[in-house]
Amino acid sequence: MPKRPSIGKRQFLPIAVVAAAAGAAVSGAVLLTRAHRVADHLASNGPAEVRTDQYVSSNGCEACHPDHYRSWYRSFHRTMTQAATPDRVLASFEDVQVTQVPGRPMELHRRGRELWAEFDDPDWSGGGAAPPRITRRVVLATGSHNQQIYWYATGHDRLLGQLPAIRVVADGRWVPRRSATMHPGDAAMYSETGAWNGVCVACHATSGRPRLSAPLGSEPIAAARVETMAVEFGIACEACHGPGAEHGRVNRNPVRRYRLHWAGGADPTIVQPLHLDPKRASQVCGQCHSLWEFLNPADERDANIRGLPYRPGDDLTASRFVVQPTRNLETPTMKTLLQDDPRFLGDVFWSDGMVRATGREYNGLIDSPCYQKATDPQRTLTCFSCHAMHQTSDDRRSLAEWADAQLSPAGIDRSACVQCHRTYGTNVTAHTKHDSNSPGSSCYNCHMPYTTYGLLKTIRSHQISSPSVRATVETGRPNACNLCHLDKTLAWTSTILSQWYGIAAPSLSEDDRTIAASLVTLLAGDAGQRAIIAQSMGWAAAQQASGGGNWMAPYLSLLLTDSYDAVRYIAGRSLRTLPGLSDVEYDFVAPPASRMAARVEALRRWRQIRVTRSDRALLMNVDGTFNAESIDRLVHRRNNRRVYYRE
């Protein structure tokens, strides 16, 4: 029998060589790409991204959860901090000069993929002498939804400084960093060098660790050792689901995975916030969306090295002091905080304890009756009653629309509330007394009005409440009715609420009985209150409910020269929403004379298009002139307390 010929080694050799070469090429490409990514932020003296303590980063989640990864990737949580590269920053660095900074203009340049800035040293302490120019590489960017802030490597360890101007996304323009926050116009300058390392890292990165040799502010930052690191920049999967190493490891076993698929239960190796009890579920969001402090100095030092000890599913209050004056005003921790900073509460809360600064939505939630009084877990208000951190399959909106507020389909307008308040859903007009399709029949407009401020705009209060004239009188917080019916007095609102809902009418001052509540607040309120009214005057629904916006123009014009940058910005924005005034030239950070000229011009333009409306509540006389005496009186009565929001 002849020997059967076989394929010889020589025939396999070329194939093996080609396969080996291809494998080497692919491996090399992967390694080079990875090395390039790492170099983006590690070679720049910026904070380091280090996988540690059972964290694997979002890269480890993508393969098995591509749909969840995709919606997270589109979310503004991901971009809360990111390495500053040309494709990630919202501003151009192509040889741009930025004049909206203190001192000499800032120059921006690109060197390949690196972004560089030349500007006056914000940490210069040389007295009256002009600060020296410094040139630094921009390594991180925070935010991308409303504003983007840029951080440069100082060259000292991993310490970051902040560029003196930020990008306002809606306007596509630079504004001085200080002008983007609510603070008195004459407040002293201060440096934000070290702020990302010591403060932002806690919530603008996943498992951030400041690693400062001394608490921020306790010694000159330049003298401290700064080895800041985070597991991942931005708020990634493991911020809400907990460290994923064990989950990834055990689920490499396909038998385990299929058993879980069939059983349909939760995987105990990872936290699913939706499967937690309502209070623990909301605490996952509350770890960042609340005002909190460390329980003691030792905890701060520990978190400084190891990161915050809270993990999703834990009891947040076991490791944090969630500042809530309605609950813990008399506690020793609160008293210590108030000793250190007596204005601490007033900068964040209304006098009745309702939060007024943005980013603290958890504080609002836990004082809401739908959360406090609920006894059935299925009917307890949580963040997830309205919000979905991943776009759901029944959501027909685009990813961009979903990402704007991360509302679930069930959280869009009335459907959120009628999940529990079903009777209102069947006959909404009986409850709201407004047309069912009008803004007055939106649950949110009446029970979550825009009374919280931050990021150059107002946002909805996340403490569910009912319109209350008494609360307005006692706290100065505008009520929902008068935020829409801007031309009505508090007395009008009080009467309506009494007739419709039997709410007892509080005693009112002469001004509250005769002058539109919006004007009393706009003219006599503090900066935060003025901002709220100015924003409402730009709201189409409020303009329509208030007999058109024409009458608002002179009052918004007044605010164009307000002493607070943020109030001026909002007033200018609202003024441009009024008919005939959309092209008013106004720059809220221009020199005072220029702002005054814009105010005069706006008034001149308004006089040409004014709609005569004799209304005593609007401080307009029968002859069309203003009630200057009342206006002056209210302005002189203005609450000039210094307003700083902890945004």
């Binding site: 059967r4 010929p5 076989s6 394929i7 025939q11 393969a63 098995c64 959860h65 591509p66 749909d67 995709r70 396909p254 995975r257 299929y258 698929h261 399959s393």
Partner: protein, 141 residues
Amino acid sequence: MSAEDYAGRHRRWGWSLLPLFVAFGLVLEMLHGFKVDAYLNVSNETRRLLWTLAHAHGSALAIVNIVFGLALEREPVKTMANLGVTSACLLAATVFLPLGFFLGGVTSSEGDPGLGILLVPPGAVLLIAALLLVARAAGRR
């Protein structure tokens, strides 16, 4: 069965399956064209991958069957040993591989395919076995 019988069988299988899987490719293109969520939504990425693999493997294996049928008409494959086993392995692989990918994509969860995917590994083993047997025969001098 003679080598001619096997050749005819594989040509028939190949020419029957090729239009079927090409048509399946057309269906996939239509799912793209009409942006059908059940196929294109990122949550159905596994389905899209597996059905693409079903289309590709089905089409390729149909061509392999045709080529094998043609190869059986001439030496040295015509007189290869274990022809029956080789033919059975190739036909089984032709069924198991695309069907496994297709069924695996019908249901999926968190990136894991449905249980139909279990047909793929034996299909792959059978295909490799068939190819090795043919390669050994083709390498004869």
